[in-house]
Structure formats: structure tokens, C-alpha cells
């Protein structure tokens, strides 16, 4: 085991970035999962990829801020498209999400192969674009981590500030509306936060797997607690711990992408929790047996 890496500057920067990102994503993800909207993150994640490529084509450079703007715009466009189709058709939301996310991601892949070897772009290094699919710690710069902070701090602030409103919005939207709390406004805040996490997390985790940052810590946390505030905190903790493990593995072993390594760590914790957690399989079986014995 190589521990010297733990003090290297690159490792610290990347590790810090992914840990902050994952804790924010874990909390926001818990809100979306409990709201029954976990696929929204998946759709926005995939759909942000063509924005990255188009921003590169326009800017002719791998400028993190420019690519982030591209990712946000195309993620937003996809989201608006999903909403538009949802309102104006009788299709199920999951079918619409699947269609839009694959169409956008497909466009991103086509554009990426188009610019590879194209005479106009051949002089610009494009190796980094690959990393927006799976994430790669080795390409992370300080500015990428700074961007995470720009998104993470306001997101946490909003969650704490509107904690009570979020709770009511997630649990009982119609009652919320009856006392004058606008569900559409809460929904917009939620989507903005998802968008922020995805746009800044793409380079670390990649477009394909970024949605797991939102979903996996949340379902893990739900195996351990039945209090909303604790679920949020546990999700944040699971996210950041997995990020540490994943970033370490991908830094030590050359060729291991950061995103998949983190997700693997996260998923191991999730599966374990589903089995041994106080609200997991074993505990439920025991409770059911006790209930049957009592009645």
C-alpha cells in the first residue's frame, strides 16, 4: 500500500474536491430520491456531455469554466425539453427521460468523434474531453476544485436555510401548496442544485456516472436512519468517504478512472448497508418475524 500519495499535492486537491462534491451531491440526492425523482439527475448528467464538446468547439480550448458553462446549458436544455414533452404528451416520464438522455449523449459522442482528426481542431489538444465521460483525477486542476466550492457552498446554504420547506415539499407537496409554499419554486431550487453538482462534478466523475453521486449515498443513508436530517448527513458522509477511497485507488493505480472507482466504493457500502443496516434486509426480516409472533 502506497501511503506517500496521501501527502502529494495532486492527490490532496482531487481528494478534497471529490469529497466536497460528494457530500453536497449526497444531500441534494437524498432530496431527489425521496421525492421519487432520482432519474432526473441521470438525464441531466448524460445530457450535459454534448455541451462540453460544443463549448470546446467554440472556444477551441479545454477551459474548465467554458466547458462548465456548456455542460450547464445543455443540461438545462435537456431538462426543459423533458418538461415540455411531459406536459404536452401522454408519455411516461421515465420513457421521456431515457429518450432525451440517450439522444443528447449520442450527440456528444458523435461530435467528439467528428472533431477527432478534423483539420480545424487537430492543433488543439483534445485528450481531456475523454475525461468528461468517466472522470480522471490526473487531469484535475485547482480551478476545478474552486468551481466545486462556488457551487457547493450556496447549495448547502440553501438546503440548511430551506430545510423545513424541503421536508414539507418532499413529503406532502399538495399540503405544502395549500399553505402557500410553492412546489414549483422548490422544484426549481432542487433542479438548480442538481445542475450545479453535475456541471462541476463532470470532470471528476464523468457524465455517465455522475448521477450515482446523487442516488447511491441517499439509498445507503435510508438503510441507516428514518429521520430526514440524519439521512441527509449520512448521505453526505457516505459520499465523502467513498470519494476518499475512490480517489486514493485511482491515484495509486495508473489507468483507473476516478469516477468508476468512487462509485465502486459507494456501491459496496450501499449493498452492505442494504443487508446489515437497521432498515435493511436482515433487520426487516427480524421485525416481520417479531410482528407475526406478537399478533
Amino acid at each position: 500500500m502506497d501511503l506517500s500519495i496521501l501527502t502529494s499535492y495532486t492527490f490532496l486537491v482531487v481528494c478534497f474536491g471529490t469529497m466536497i462534491l460528494a457530500s453536497v451531491a449526497g444531500m441534494i440526492g437524498a432530496v431527489t430520491v425521496l421525492k421519487g425523482q432520482s432519474l432526473i439527475g441521470d438525464a441531466i448528467g448524460h445530457s450535459s456531455y454534448p455541451g462540453v464538446i460544443i463549448a470546446f468547439m467554440i472556444g477551441m480550448a479545454l477551459d474548465p469554466v467554458l466547458l462548465l458553462i456548456g455542460a450547464t446549458l445543455s443540461g438545462t436544455l435537456a431538462f426543459v425539453l423533458v418538461q415540455f414533452i411531459d406536459v404536452n404528451s401522454k408519455l411516461n416520464l421515465d420513457a421521456i427521460l431515457a429518450t432525451v438522455l440517450s439522444a443528447f449523449f449520442g450527440l456528444g459522442m458523435v461530435l467528439k468523434s467528428y472533431i477527432q482528426g478534423h483539420p480545424i481542431y487537430v492543433k488543439v489538444p483534445q485528450g481531456g474531453l475523454q475525461n468528461y465521460i468517466f472522470g480522471q483525477a490526473a487531469f484535475i486542476r485547482l480551478v476545478d476544485v474552486q468551481l466545486i466550492f462556488v457551487v457547493a457552498i450556496p447549495s448547502i446554504f440553501l438546503l440548511i436555510l430551506f430545510y423545513k420547506e424541503f421536508k414539507l415539499f418532499v413529503f406532502d407537496e399538495i399540503y405544502a401548496k395549500s399553505i402557500g409554499l410553492s412546489p414549483s419554486m422548490m422544484y426549481i431550487i432542487m433542479v438548480l442544485m442538481i445542475m450545479g453538482v453535475i456541471a462541476t462534478g463532470l470532470k471528476f466523475v464523468g457524465a455517465i456516472l455522475i448521477s450515482s453521486f446523487l442516488i447511491v449515498p441517499a439509498i445507503t443513508a435510508m438503510q441507516w436512519s428514518n429521520r430526514f436530517n440524519r439521512v441527509l448527513l449520512i448521505a453526505a458522509g457516505v459520499g465523502s468517504f467513498s470519494s476518499f477511497i475512490g480517489t486514493y485507488l485511482s491515484s495509486v493505480y495508473a489507468g483507473m478512472s476516478t469516477g468508476p472507482s468512487i462509485i465502486l466504493a459507494m456501491s459496496c457500502i450501499a449493498f452492505l448497508s442494504m443487508i446489515i443496516g437497521p432498515h435493511g434486509l436482515i433487520a426487516s426480516k427480524i421485525r416481520r418475524r417479531e410482528f407475526l409472533a406478537d399478533n
Partner: protein
Amino acid sequence: MSQNIIVKVEDLTMAYNEKPVLWDNDVDIVENSRTAIIGPNGAGKSTLVKGILGLQKTLSGYVEVMGQPVKQVQKKIAYIPQSNSVNWDFPTTALDVVLMGRYVHLGWIKRPRKKDLEKAEQALQKIGMQDYKNRQISQLSGGQRQRVFIARAIAQDAEIYFMDEPLAGVDKNTEKVIIDFLKKSQSQGKTSIVIHHDLNTLAEYFDHLVILNKKIIDQGPMQTTLTKENLAQANLGGWLR
């Protein structure tokens, strides 16, 4: 006889996916009444209540509660949705759900205080649920969930209760607790508007009636409104034993 009208609805028309559900309805709810809304499936009972409360878009019409637009009196109106309209697996306790009844008084951002917590506990006590206050809501029975919803309305300190089928799927004991609560509220000057589905208990539980089948068939005091002709007209004729 002069009775105050606490909820006044004029020419209310509502549609679902461009298909009209309610046409041009006028409804008057008498203050301090226990009013039941009945009608066959798909008659638009829930839609009417949602339209009155501004929870669903209306195509036309005018609604006034306590002489004001609904948005002005939200604190005074407690809405009790159908209990299957929420996710009961949400990680929280019975007491926490009841505490949500205080949110309307707190406004944005502010957290519940000790006084709110006390009100929530008292509300649970009034409905016989104090022993379940720390129970995870997924572990409550159908009747207990309905009582938690009623307790939330009590904690809200409202003047008017709108309930969407509060007796659906509850045990006999809960049914009695809820009806006792409605009667007690009436003695305290409050008004209840309840969507109901059991014609046999109608006259016993309520004193005013609104019969709806996309249009208002009839409305008024129970004795004069609950007639065979009215029920037949609402396609409810066969239901009465």
C-alpha cells in the same frame, strides 16, 4: 333564517387534460356546519375542493373564503389530503408530520419553537395518538396515518377543515374518533367540509350536504337535500339501503 356563508363559489369550471370535469358550479358552505360532499366516482369531488383551495387550475369562476380570496386566509384553512397522496416511507415521525401544521404560522426559513412542539403534542393527544409520537410513519396503520393528518390540521389552529375522504380505509375506532372530532370542532365554532362516500352514515355524521356529479345536483341542509330524487339524479340511487 340568516346563515353566514363561509365559503362562496361562483361559476367554477375546471378541466383535466382539456376535458371539463366541473361545469359552472355555484357552492355555498354554511359557517359552522358539518358539510359532506357526495357524488359518484369521477364526479369531481376532489377537484372541486382543490379548485376552491387554489391547488388546481380553474378555467373560470370565483372563490371567496371568509369573505376574502383563499390566498389571504391560508392560515385559517386546514386541508387534509387523501392519505394515499403522500409517500409514507418518508423518513420521519408522527410528531414531525404534525409539526408541519405549524409551518404556515412560521413562514419561510424560521424553525419550529418549543411552543409549536407543544401544540403538536397536544394535537396528537386530542386524537388519541400521543403514544405514537415517535413512531416512524411507515409503521403506522391506515387509521393511525389518517389521525396523524387530522392532528396536523388541529396543530394548524384553523377555522375551516377541508377533508378528502378521511374515513376511507380506516378502522371503526378511528372513524368514531374523527367524527367526534368534527362534532367537537363544530361546538367550537369551526366548519368542516368533508368528501364522504358512505351514504348510510351521511345523515348521522353531517348536517349539510352538497351533491355533485360534474354539476351541483343540490345543496343545503341534510333533511331537505338528502332525497331519493337527488340521489337518483346523481346516479347514486342504488347505493342507499
